[in-house]
Symmetry: C2
Subunit: 160 residues, 2 copies
């Protein structure tokens, strides 16, 4: 995961802040570092926990106040997997249109992108009189490979 360079998500977010006249505080720096140093999904509580390990001064309120900034920037997306709390996905900078397959057994989540599905979505939407702004696709299923082999050989399979 690129953590440097002008186009890394972290840098993009700092630009987003600057462009809106928002300030770069120590706490925001920590939160952003944490968010973009992983490709894992996370909850608000996890983000608080991870951030506090780096800097005890990060409060729950600040985490909750920073999350809307992250989603507004388009670099992180709020997800609902039917759990009691929201889950955030930091992979929208690299794959702005990706979908999820969720294993009902092991809860593992695999991300993928499908140009073909995107085309169909556009086509159908057009016929219904809509222009597409975004999309959200979750497939629920069983990870049979995982059950058979103890591990899913397709892990990390991004791109389609």
């Amino acid at each position: 995961m690129a953590t440097d360079g002008p186009l890394c998500p972290k840098r993009k977010f700092l630009d987003f802040l600057g462009g809106r006249g928002l300030r770069l505080t120590a706490q925001r720096r920590v939160i952003v570092d944490v968010v973009f140093s992983t490709d894992q999904h996370f909850t608000a509580e996890q983000l608080l926990d991870w951030s506090r390990r780096r800097d005890r001064s990060v409060s729950r309120a600040t985490v909750y106040r920073t999350l809307p900034l992250l989603t507004a920037s388009g670099l992180v997306r709020e997800m609902d997997f039917g759990k009691d709390c929201k889950v955030y996905d930091p992979n929208y900078a690299s794959h702005p249109n990706h979908s999820h397959i969720i294993c009902q057994d092991c809860e593992k989540i695999v991300e993928f992108e499908s140009e073909k599905i995107a085309r169909l979505e556009n086509e159908i939407s057009l016929q219904l009189g809509f222009s597409v702004a975004g999309q959200r696709l979750q497939i629920m299923g069983s990870c049979e490979a995982l059950k058979k082999e103890g591990t899913c050989k397709n892990r990390g399979g991004l791109e389609r």
Copy 2:
């Protein structure tokens, strides 16, 4: 909407209750009547409101206790449209695999089904080592037809 006959969703739900040794109370009858006498999406609070109009004895607790039964029966699905509370969709009896297009401007929701997308989902899932159990697709967009004409001529367009 069919409210009678052996295969109507209401009847299916009553069978579901019976099959599990659950009892048919006056309150459940009202709630179920309300749910399956519309094809509109609703929130828990709306369902309480509508039910209370028919029978003041329906309490919030009973609504909240009945909703999981409705979703467990497979006839109603819990949805998340990024709002503060959950939304329920009573159209899963007639269209068990439908998707949603949501207009970002007028918040109108159109349901559709696509066999082609379903096929692609299966194909992709298989390649990633998953067997598909279910699917959840939301397309966010702008209902331009609505803006131009004051009404969406494609309203109710189910099936694709």
